[in-house]
């Protein structure tokens, strides 16, 4: 079938490839599919954690604040506790008031684990398998230490003090669970369990990914592939967990 010459020319002009940034055939974000999707997943995860922390802020403002001097503070279900009065214990130093020291240690452990993770990613860029292995192991170690600390913190929070808290009905409550709380309103304990628990679950998933990445690195999987991008993606997730902790630390323990 004969196509008129003019029509052919029009078609050719219309189909001339466009080469702009968003016209297809290139990567406007200069990031691989996997990395981009990890960023979007983390964005959605940030919304989840933000919802938790916003709920904490709302519930806290709905309750009465303690009015008076900090050193006269007493636990009561009538007012929201001062965090440094709740979290003042340290393993092995029973009965000594060391406010926030243990959570400071946990924070440092997690930040250091984030640094060893960056070093693993950096070693991956240099295709240095031994260094990737070394730094992944350090990250796994610090991540495991953090989880161990959190287990201790939870145990202490659940067990409670020796004197407990006298309730209005004459009973005494020791420690906290989802329905009773020695340290203040029940919702304080609920939010503690949900927020630190959800974060701890993230740390645990991160640890599983890290262990898997360590095994794959040892087997030379990434080396044969020619790049260590998988370590980079897991690194993004791991830093995000650290980032969330920075916010949990401020909103739950400092303010």
């Amino acid at each position: 079938m004969a196509i008129p010459h003019a029509a052919m020319q029009t078609a050719a002009t219309a189909e001339a490839p466009r080469t702009g940034t968003w016209d297809g055939g290139n990567e406007p974000f200069k990031a691989s599919y996997g990395k981009l999707m990890m960023w979007f997943f983390l964005l959605s995860d940030a919304f989840t954690f933000a919802a938790f922390l916003t709920t904490y802020g709302m519930v806290r403002h709905r309750h009465l604040a303690y009015v008076g001097k900090a050193h006269d503070f007493f636990f009561s279900t009538a007012h929201w506790p001062i965090p440094e009065k709740v979290f003042n214990a340290f393993p092995g130093l029973h009965g000594i008031d060391i406010p926030l020291a243990f959570v400071a240690l946990m924070t440092m452990i997690l930040i250091v684990s984030s640094v060893t993770m960056v070093l693993a990613v950096e070693a991956g860029h240099r295709m240095d398998k031994d260094d990737v292995q070394k730094w992944l192991l350090w990250t796994i170690l610090f991540g495991g230490m953090f989880l161990g600390c959190q287990a201790w913190e939870w145990t202490h929070f659940i067990t409670g003090s020796e004197h407990g808290l006298k309730m209005a009905d004459g009973s005494t409550v020791f420690g906290a669970n989802l329905t009773v709380n020695e340290y203040g309103p029940v919702l304080f304990a609920d939010l503690f369990f949900f927020i630190t628990g959800f974060h701890g679950t993230h740390v645990f998933s991160g640890l599983c990914l890290l262990v898997w990445a360590f095994i794959a690195t040892s087997n030379g999987t990434f080396h044969k592939r020619g790049h260590y991008e998988m370590v980079e993606k897991i690194g993004l997730y791991w830093h995000f967990v650290d980032l969330v902790w920075v916010f949990v630390f401020t909103f739950f323990y400092l303010i």
């Binding site: 981009l36 930040i111 295709m127 920075v246």
Partner: protein, 116 residues
């Protein structure tokens, strides 16, 4: 750590020489984060609790977040489009936080001061 030789077999790019690790910006970010956290602790024990102190805590936290996201997560070195894609939705959360915290105050007010 010195025996890298066997790996060179399946190294497609022939980068047997691993080069020197570039850790300076990483350690600098770490120093900032540790320094800010130490300062936060100093404030927690020397300054009485107030709205001002809480605001300082939040601003310092955002600084720490900047170092983690920009340096550790490498976002600073990504394209502008990706940076904005991540940062703009986060702005919505600030509104959520402000709205629900004041909402909480109103709920508390209506419970404790309803008949005053």
């Amino acid at each position: 750590m010195a025996h890298h030789a066997p790996e060179t077999d399946y190294n497609a790019h022939g980068a047997a020489d691993h080069g020197k690790p570039n850790v300076k910006p990483i350690l600098k970010a770490l120093a900032w984060i540790v320094g800010i956290t130490a300062f936060e602790f100093l404030l927690a024990f020397t300054m009485p609790s107030s709205t001002l102190r809480n605001s300082i805590f939040i601003i310092l936290t955002i600084f720490k977040a900047f170092f983690i996201v920009a340096e550790f997560m490498h976002l600073r070195h990504e394209t502008k489009g990706l940076i904005w894609t991540i940062l703009v939705p986060m702005a919505l959360l600030i509104w959520l936080l402000v709205a629900l915290i004041s909402e909480g105050s109103f709920v508390g007010e209506s419970i404790f001061n309803a008949y005053k």
